[in-house]
């Protein structure tokens, strides 16, 4: 096993551990994550398989395929996060707006 394989496997293990410890997700989520992690681990241990799959869909090298899909996936994650931030912003705006209207004041009554 090469150094990079050990590094990647260790990272995968840490990610799964983190998800398990911090996010306390539902059983379904946990199963999906573990399954994904296992697939990832398998591909790290037997990297030649990625090339076999890549060739089937018309990409020369397994690593290239992994990078293409990673970019697509990351782009998708960014959009999802952006949409979530927008929703959060709108919620925050609603709360601040309501509070501003409830606390509207007439300044002429406060003159010293």
């Amino acid at each position: 096993m090469t150094t990079v394989q050990i590094l990647l496997l260790a990272s995968l293990f840490l990610i799964v551990l983190y998800i398990y410890l911090r996010l306390r997700s539902s059983v379904v989520d946990a199963v999906v994550f573990i399954l994904l992690a296992l697939i990832g681990a398998a591909l790290v241990v037997f990297p030649d398989y990625t090339t076999v799959i890549a060739n089937k869909i018309g990409i020369g090298r397994g690593v290239d395929m992994v990078i293409y899909f990673s970019i697509l996936f990351l782009g998708f994650v960014c959009l999802k996060l952006y949409a979530r931030i927008r929703r959060l912003e709108q919620t925050l705006t609603t709360i601040i707006r309501e509070s501003a209207m409830l606390n509207a004041r007439a300044l002429e009554e406060e003159a010293e």
């Binding site: 952006y82 949409a83 927008r86 912003e89 709108q90 925050l92 705006t93 601040i96 707006r97 509070s99 501003a100 209207m101 606390n103 509207a104 004041r105 007439a106 300044l107 002429e108 406060e110 003159a111 010293e112």
Partner: protein
């Protein structure tokens, strides 16, 4: 138009230096004036204390679009029949307000946009700013199909129908384009009227930079994507 039911909305963010003067000139018109303090960190509230205005404050800074929407929601709740938006930095002229309201009162349109480039208008905008606004007009046209002679002018007047139907969700500067989206979507009748926009030393310094044009464009694109 009944003065008691006409609301002038003045969104303000860190405008303590000039806002009192602007408000005092607005108060001469006898309409109701609402200041929406968008989380200013200067002494805006202190300098305007004692003036006959309603004061609403966002606890944190949200952006001019959010401030205008807060003002609109408030005015509608208070039974406003007409609403005018007016920048706090002194670039608009109060004399334009009665003209806008008079035309609005004739009932032919729901919303009137102030334009600094129509015949009869006047502005001392720099060549650079005029260029950016020209691009802004094209962008607005591409997004909405509405061809206006000005873009992102802070002075506009609308009736109750328009102020109830228009919902500004773009908190930042792109709200000016969102007004057009809403006008189009909600099938409101609109027109433009010439107004005077005079940048003073203060509003030049404080106002939007040329870069913000690009930012607005980016926000509009994202807005359309996530509508």
């Amino acid at each position: 138009m009944n003065e008691d039911f006409t609301y002038i909305l003045v969104p303000a963010f860190n405008e303590a230096e000039v806002i009192r003067e602007v408000l005092e000139s607005l108060l001469k018109l006898k309409y109701r004036v609402v200041v929406i303090d968008d989380g200013s960190r200067d002494n805006t509230e202190e300098v305007i204390r004692g003036l006959t205005v309603r004061y609403l404050r966002h606890r944190v800074n949200l952006g001019q679009g959010a401030a205008i929407q807060t003002g609109m929601s408030y005015a509608v709740r208070k039974g406003a029949r007409a609403i005018v938006t007016f920048d706090a930095d002194g670039q608009h002229k109060v004399e334009d307000i009665p003209k806008l309201l008079e035309t609005l009162n004739e009932g032919q349109v729901d919303i009137i946009f102030g334009s600094r480039f129509m015949k009869g208008a006047s502005t001392n905008a720099s060549a650079g700013r005029k260029f950016v606004i020209r691009i802004g007009r094209i962008v607005n046209f591409l997004f909405t199909g509405l061809w206006l002679s000005d873009a992102h002018n802070g002075i506009r007047a609308m009736n109750r129908k328009a102020s109830r139907k228009i919902k500004i969700r773009e908190n930042g500067l792109a709200h000016a384009s969102e007004f057009l989206f809403e006008v189009k979507k909600k099938k409101l009748r609109w027109m433009e009227m010439p107004v005077t926009v005079e940048y003073n030393k203060y509003s030049r310094k404080k106002g939007t930079s040329h870069m913000s044009g690009f930012k607005i464009f980016l926000h509009l694109t994202l807005y359309k994507l996530f509508e």
